[in-house]
């Protein structure tokens, strides 16, 4: 049920976001007899015109966009918190209680999301640059792209590890109702103890997710020119893959940590 709700949430959110470019493009096309099918015509004259002109027709500006990103991070944390809470040993028994839990941890989840994304980006960029440039003197000119490839692969690995750690922190925030710092300390201890099993569980699902989303994307691209409605359904349906895998991943985390965690008691009212 929680997973289903998360899928619906993602479908609605992505549909809402998608309506922004759809409106902007429609303003540029202005009643072209072929509709937006003209964007898939060979030559791409209208396609590039849309890419050039649509941004000036978009129904938002830079500041509202930034606000929308922040709000979306906050809002997206609610279904995720519900999923995490459902795997605790003392999972909320009512929807009211579940919503209380989700709302209670949402600010910390938002902060965590920003921290994790920043840390992942920096570690990826830093590792790629460090390995790439530091190895330059030791490789021939024709081979100098390879250190950057290796650096990028390492950077992806680090980013992946940060993602795992971030999820453990989230689990601690919900299951133990601790602050971000205390949860980080707990998470890194858990990660050290069960790193192998956690890595296998995460990597397997990440690969499966990447494969599923790639297939989905290819299917959408193939359907778009002739069957846009079917493509739209597939687009929205694609969201169920990462949600299901994410849910399964938190289940694996709960099992690995021995289901010791309990969902902390949260009250909607602040204590005096």
């Amino acid at each position: 049920m929680v997973v289903g709700l998360a899928v619906v949430y993602r479908a609605l959110a992505s549909g809402l976001l998608a309506s922004i470019p759809a409106v902007a493009v429609s303003r540029v096309l202005g009643g072209h007899p072929l509709g937006d099918a003209v964007l898939w015509e060979p030559g791409g004259v209208w396609l590039l015109e849309v890419v050039r002109r649509a941004p000036s027709h978009a129904p938002y500006g830079a500041y509202p966009l930034a606000a929308a990103v922040f709000v979306s991070l906050f809002a997206a944390s609610l279904p995720l918190a519900l999923i995490v809470a459902s795997y605790g040993s003392d999972a909320p028994s009512t929807w009211t209680r579940a919503c209380q839990v989700a709302l209670g941890v949402a600010p910390r989840f938002t902060l965590l999301a920003a921290l994790v994304i920043t840390a992942q980006t920096l570690s990826f960029a830093f590792t790629t640059a460090l390995v790439g440039f530091a190895s330059r003197p030791f490789v021939s000119v024709s081979d100098e792209r390879w250190p950057f490839v290796v650096g990028a692969a390492l950077g992806l690995g680090f980013a992946f590890g940060i993602g795992i750690l971030g999820d453990l922190v989230r689990a601690s925030v919900v299951w133990r109702n601790e602050g971000v710092w205390a949860s980080l300390v707990w998470a890194q201890r858990q990660a050290r103890q069960g790193y192998r099993a956690l890595f296998v569980a995460a990597a397997g699902r990440a690969l499966l997710g990447a494969f599923g989303l790639t297939v989905c994307a290819k299917l959408v691209l193939a359907l778009l020119p002739e069957r846009p409605v079917a493509a739209a359904f597939v687009s929205v349906g694609c969201g169920s893959i990462p949600v299901a895998l994410r849910s399964s991943w938190f289940g694996a985390v709960a099992r690995e940590l021995g289901a010791k965690a309990v969902v902390a008691s949260l009250d909607c009212e602040q204590p005096d």
């Binding site: 509709g35 898939w40 791409g44 004259v45 590039l48 002109r53 000119v141 687009s235």
Partner: protein, 618 residues
Amino acid sequence: MLVAAIEVTSFAAAPPSDPPLATLARAETAAGQGVASYELYAELDAETHRIRGKGVIRWRNASSVPQRELWLHAYLNAFKDERTRLMRRGEPDGFRGGTSLGHHGSLEVHRLRARELDAELWGGVTYGEEDDETDVRVPLPREVAPGESLTLDVEFTASLPSVMLRTGYAGRFHMVAQWFPKLARLEPDGRWAHFSLDRFSEFYADFGDYDVTIDVPEAFLVGATGAPVGDLSEGGRRRVRFIAPRVHEFAFAAWDGFEEVRQLAGGVELVALFPKGEGEEADLELDVATRALAHFAERYGPYPYRRLTLVRPPREAAEAGGMEYPTLITTGASTRFRAVGLRSIEAITVHELAHQWFYGLLATNEHRYPYLDEGLTSYAELEVMERFWPGNSGFDGFGFRVSEEAAYRIAAADAEGRGRVDRASSEFADGHAYGGLVYARMATTLRTLARVYGEERMQRALGVYARVHRFSHPRPMDLVAAVKAEVGEAAAVALTAAVEGGSVDVRLDGWESHPDAGGGFVGTVSLRREGAVVLPVEVDVRSARGSVTRLRWDGVGEQGILPWRGDAPMASVLVDPDDRILLDARLEGRASGGPKTTPRVWALAACLAQLGASIVWP
């Protein structure tokens, strides 16, 4: 003949006399009718990146006016310090060339002696402008009459800069261009076309015969203008002699990291020099060059030389890539671009190859009229790319197919309102204006004329232009005359208006239909045109029953009202349905009556949102 008079100059470090080579050289240049010919010996020091040069320049006063001076270009002096005209221009902002040099370059002339005048000339030189020694005036002790020739003995040292703007070194790779004292072109009316080298300026020179011996470390491979007629290794050095008849520039690349592949293409030997590990790119370039060579020969007359060298610089010398010299081009881009659907390697190769005609054989004044070479070359590039990869010549991936001319159209549209296309290269404010106007807008103008007035007529016009002015120095009026003769007066007027900075914007002003007495429907389509460029335009009217009627407006005036008759009410209207008027910067307002929804865009955006959410959302 001039070539018959070429003497074998003796150099202190020159290879021993080689009669068969001399014979070959004479045979190669027998057709030469050069005004400025060069016989040079260049010794490259790969450690200091200097070239010690010696030789003879033969010049003939081909004008109708006696001359009391010569003008020489010493282009390498543009990199001498931060005060030169080129370096003062600063950040190119949107075009090639950085602003900082790891190592400066220069051209130091030690000797310039005129045999016929029995005079050393270099002592009296002055420069075209303060702080810039690229434009050199050489006073003569007496007048040189029309038809009279001078033989100039020259000695010089060229110090290459770290690679910047086409020339220089990176590690042991050397792209040696604009490296010797070079005579400016003397126009028929007796005026010298000389200039200080500017950030966006290229070059201009007379045709001549080049006989250049290049002396490099033994492990180096050399690619150069012309064709080799001798290759001698001795004492750890390698001397390769190149003969290049009827060209107006000589450049060479030398490196011990090159690999080489050769291929024959319709009697022309193609030689690709490329860094180790980039054989795939080189093979692609050779394949594209082979096909494009045949295409250009058919369009613009045969390639008249026996060899074409393609140099692919290493990545750290990418600035040297994407440049043209007679019979030698430098390429660029990587197969990684292909992996994402871009045809960058193909486009660069085709573009530089097209320069063999629009620069190499039609040696226009690139400084004064940069659009004549870059604009026509870009047009030729677009035409070939579209012929080879119709509808997807620029990009093919993710279900989208984009032609190069659509991409050029965007650049041309962005450059609208930035002034005249026909400015001198020194008059462009920044690289965006230069690239957008000279390359994109000129090419898009010509493509528009071809699409509006007919591909065949335009091909004929440029074919005539290229053949008539081969081995000469055409001017803008020659291009306009060819378009006028083969395409028509209206096209020539539109071309002139466009290069003067004119634009065109055609929009749908309104449409209506109603039943007529005969049981059918009648109506009108109202169009509005703005801008100085006048072009005929087509309109497709679709009736409610699906039948399509094509209407035509000559484009004259600000408004056109076109009558329509159909079997059902009008359902939709589309102006310029075949996208012929690529020069129109705004497509909005061209259509009406079609669907207002965009389900495909919505589905695609939703899919991207889902993918994005999976990566960045918590």
